[in-house]
Symmetry: C2
Subunit: 560 residues, 2 copies
Amino acid sequence: VVTKDKAALWTDGRYFLQAEQQLTSGWSLMRAGNLGVPSRSEWLNGVMAPGSRIGIDPFLFSSDAAEELKEAISQKNHELVYLYDINLVDEIWKESRPKPPNKHVRVHEMKYAGVDVSSKLSSLRSELTNAGSSAIVISMLDEIAWLLNLRGSDIPHSPVMYAYLIVEIDGAKLFIDEAKVNSDVMHYLKNAGIELRPYESILSEIESAAIVNTYKCACDKYFGTAGTVNEKNTEALNGTDGTSCGPSYVYRSSPISLAKAVKNEAELEGMRNSHLRDAAALAQFWTWLEEEISNGVILTEVDVADKLLEFRSKQNGFVDTSFDTISASGANGAIIHYKPEPNSCSVVDAEKLFLLDSGAQFIDGTTDITRTVHFGEPSSWQKECFTRVLQGHIALDQAIFPENYPGFVLDAFARASLWKIGLDYRHGTGHGVGAALNVHEGPQSISFRFGNMTPLLKGMVVSNEPGYYEDHAFGIRIENLLYVKEVSTPNRFGGLDYLGFEKLTYVPIQTKLIDLSIVSAAEIDWLNDYHKQVWEKVSPLLDGPAQEWLWNNTRPLIKH
Amino acid sequence: VVTKDKAALWTDGRYFLQAEQQLTSGWSLMRAGNLGVPSRSEWLNGVMAPGSRIGIDPFLFSSDAAEELKEAISQKNHELVYLYDINLVDEIWKESRPKPPNKHVRVHEMKYAGVDVSSKLSSLRSELTNAGSSAIVISMLDEIAWLLNLRGSDIPHSPVMYAYLIVEIDGAKLFIDEAKVNSDVMHYLKNAGIELRPYESILSEIESAAIVNTYKCACDKYFGTAGTVNEKNTEALNGTDGTSCGPSYVYRSSPISLAKAVKNEAELEGMRNSHLRDAAALAQFWTWLEEEISNGVILTEVDVADKLLEFRSKQNGFVDTSFDTISASGANGAIIHYKPEPNSCSVVDAEKLFLLDSGAQFIDGTTDITRTVHFGEPSSWQKECFTRVLQGHIALDQAIFPENYPGFVLDAFARASLWKIGLDYRHGTGHGVGAALNVHEGPQSISFRFGNMTPLLKGMVVSNEPGYYEDHAFGIRIENLLYVKEVSTPNRFGGLDYLGFEKLTYVPIQTKLIDLSIVSAAEIDWLNDYHKQVWEKVSPLLDGPAQEWLWNNTRPLIKH
C-alpha cells in the first residue's frame, strides 16, 4: 500500500525474512498474522484522513477482496476507487515495461487429460442450468487451460496462457491474442465450438455478460442498489414477485475449481508416471551432489539448482520447472520461499543443513518435492527437529478419515510432534496441485486457516509438507505429494467412505537425520516400507552410480 | 414440531435409539445430521401450505435460533408467531401441571468461588462500558448463579435457581420468587447492591431494558426497520451521523459465559478436591459391585445407580448427582444418554460390557466420569474397540497445542485410532463443565462442529470422552475431566504459550479390556503413570476392601 508519504508491504510468515532483506528503509514491513499487526484496512483507516479516495487495480483484486476492503474502509468514509483505465505502476514503468508474452498454445492430449472438451463443457453447462444461469465468465487461467485441454507458457512455471473465457449455453468465446494460436489449435477450438475473440475485447463484452464489478455497476444503474447481490451462493436475482427482472448475475465459487481438483484416472496416471521420472532425475542429482561435496568441490546454491534442472530436463516430457527452485544452505533454509540469486547466493556448506524444494512440469504431470539433508554430521538438535517434522509428515501420510471432512482437520496431525516441545511452523501443511497445471491450486487445503470448508475428495492431489525453521540458523521441510483415495477399512461406520492418501513422490528421506530415541517402531516401519517402494518403483529407471545411490539410501533402518 | 396432522421430533445421534424406543407411531423421528434428513425449517417449508403461521414459545428459543427459523420459513411466506401470552402445552396440561419449584437459594462460599460478587460485577460493568452499553439482561441461569455466587436447586442436577438478572452500571435487579430467598441471602444481596423484583415482572421491565425480541419490536416501531441490528458483535446502534439515537441494544455473546468458563485457582482447587472424594466413592462402589457380581447377585441397572448414589452421598459436601446416571448393560450402552427406569431396565449382565456414566454436584465442585468394564471375558472385538477408544482418550489427554486454538482442532486426535478401522462416534469429544455448576457449559467445546471458534484458555474445564457404540450390542466410553494448563515446553515458538491438560478424574481404567497387540509402549506408559497417580491420590481416602481394590486395579500393565 503506497500513500503520498508512506509505503507498507503486507506478507505472511513464509516471507518475513525475505521481506526484511529486500525492503529498503522507506518501507514498513507488516508481518500479517502476528499479534498487533494491523490489516491493510485497519492501517489505511489509521493513517489516512477521513474521506480519502483509495485506488486499486481491479484486475489484481478478487471481487470478494475488493468488497471486503471497500466495506472496511467505509468506516472512515474512505472511498474505494477502481482504476479500470489507468494503472499507476504502468505510468511509472512506461516504455520500459516488457511486452506481454505471446507464446504458442498447445493441445493437452486426451491420454493425459482423460476427458474431452465437449464432455467438460457439457458438465459445466449442466451446472449453469442448475444455477439458473446462462453464461459464466472465467478469468482463472488454470481453469481455462483445464476446461479447454489447452496448455500455454505465458507464465514461468505455470503451463497456462493469458486468456478469458465466456461459456454460454449454446457457445463459448475465448479471448486470446490470436498470435498464440496456430492453425492446428485453431482447428481444434473450432471443432469444440469455441469462437476466438481479441484478448482486449473482454471488457467491452462484459456489458452483456458478467465480470462482477463492472456488471454490478450496470445492474445498480438499472435497478437501483436493491439490485445488488453480493452474497455467495445467491440464486439468480429475481423480482420479489418471483419473476425474472431482466439481466442478472449469479455469484458463487467456480464449479470448475472443484472439477479440476478432483483428478480422473488418466490425470492420476500421468501424475504417477511423471513423479517416477522426476524421482529418477532426483536420484541422479543427489548422487552427483553428494559426490561433488565429498570431493570438496565448491558449489553455490544456484549451481546446484542449475544442475538439478539439467538432470530433470533429460527426462521424457519435461516442460519446465514448476516453480523457482528453493536451493537453500544453512540459514537460507529458514527463508521459506528462498530464491537464490547468482550474485548473492551462498555456497552449499557441507557442515550445514541443505533444503531443496523443487518441482517440474511434465507433459503428463506436475511435481513438487522437498528434501532436507546434511552432508556431514548433524547436531542432535537438528536431528530432533528433523525427526519431529518427519513424525508430522508420517502422521498426515497415514491419516484415515471419514468422507466430507475438510483438510484443516488433518493439519494438527502434522504439527502435534513439534507442538509437544513448543515448536511450530508458519505455513499450511498442504496445498492442492494441478495435473500438468499450476503447482498451487484450490479449492482444498490442509492448513490452520479454518475457513476453508472444502472437503477432501477422492482424486484430489495435496502436498504433505510440514517443516521447522530457525531464523538465521536452518530450515527443515519434508514434502511429498499425495492423492486422496478410498481406503478399504474393515468397518464403515455410518455407511460412509473412509479416505486416506496414496503417495506420488518416491525419493529417499535421509535416515542420518533421524533421532532414533524419539521415533516409534511404527514410524520406522513406515520409513522402511516407503524406502522399499522407492527402490522397487524407481530403480528400474536407473543404472550405475545413481542406482547404487538409491540402493544405499533405501536400506532398512533398524532401531536397536 | 406439531402441525394439525403431523408430529416430528428432531434429535442428534446421541438420542436416535432412545427416540426410536420412546416415540409412538404417530411421530416421525428426524435423525438430524444424517444424509437427506430435512431440518425443521426445510420440513415446515415442505409440509405447510405457503403463508402459514408457525408458533413458538419464545422463552424456549434463543434469539439466534428464532431469527434463523424466521428467515428460513419466510421462503414460503410463513410467519413466525411468538406466543408470549399463551403456551399451547400449558393449555393442555392445565391444573395438572406441577407448580414451579421454589427451593431455597444458598450463598456459594468465597473459599469455593474465589472472587466476590462486587469484583465480578465490576468486571462485567467494565465490559458493558467498553461495549458502549449501560445494562445487560441475563437469562442464563448458570450465569446468574456464577455472577452472584449463589446456588439453588430448582432444577434436578443443576445447582441453579429460576431467575433473571439485569445489571446496570449503577445497580442490579434480580427477578426471583422471594419465597426462595431467606433473610441471610436477602442480606447478602442487599450488601452486594442487588435489588429483588418479582420473577414475573421481568417482561414489563424489558420495556426499558433489552430482552432482544421484545425490545427490537420497540426499536423497530421507534426507528422503522433501519433500526434493527441483529448481527452478532454489532456496536451500539447509532445514527448514521455517528451520534446516539435514543435507546438501542448491543447484541453479542455474553461476556459472563467466558468469564465463568475460565476457572480461578479457588474453583480449580474445589474441582480437584471434589474429584478425589468422588473417586473414593467410585472405588467403594466398584469394590461392592464386583463382589456382588462375582457372588452371582442379581442387580438391575437401577439398583446399581442407586447404590452408586448411596456411596457418593456419604462423601463430604455432596449435594446431588450432576445428571441422571447412565447405568447401561450390554446393548443399552449403545443408547448414548440412556436412563434406566425401574420397570423396564435390564439386569447387569456379567457376560456383557457395562457402561457407567455418572457425576456429582459437590459444594466445591462438579464431577462427570465414564468407565466401561467387563465382569467376565470380553471378546477380542470388544477389546479392540475399547483399546481404540482409549488410544483416542490418551491422544487428547496428552495433546499440547499453541494458545488461541479452538477445541475442534483436537477432536480428530480422539477419533484417529477409530478412523483407522472405519469406526467413529456420533457425539462431540468434550464439553465444558462448571465449577459447582452445570455439568454442561460453554462456550468452549471439543467437537466436529467446526463453527465454535472459542479458543481453549488456561483454566477451562473440559471432558475427554471418546466412545464407540454398536447398535443393539454394546457401548464403550472412557471419560475424564481435564483442565487446560500452560505447559512448560523447552521452546516457545512464536513467543506463544503452549497449552495442555491436567487431569481432574482419578479412577482406574479396566486393563482387562486392553488389546496389547495394538497399544504402543507410550500408551502403556501413560496408563501406568495414570494408575500410579490414582493410587497416590485416592488410596489415603480409603481403607479395607476398597483400598485393596484400588491397589489391584492400579497395578502396572506390562507388555510382553
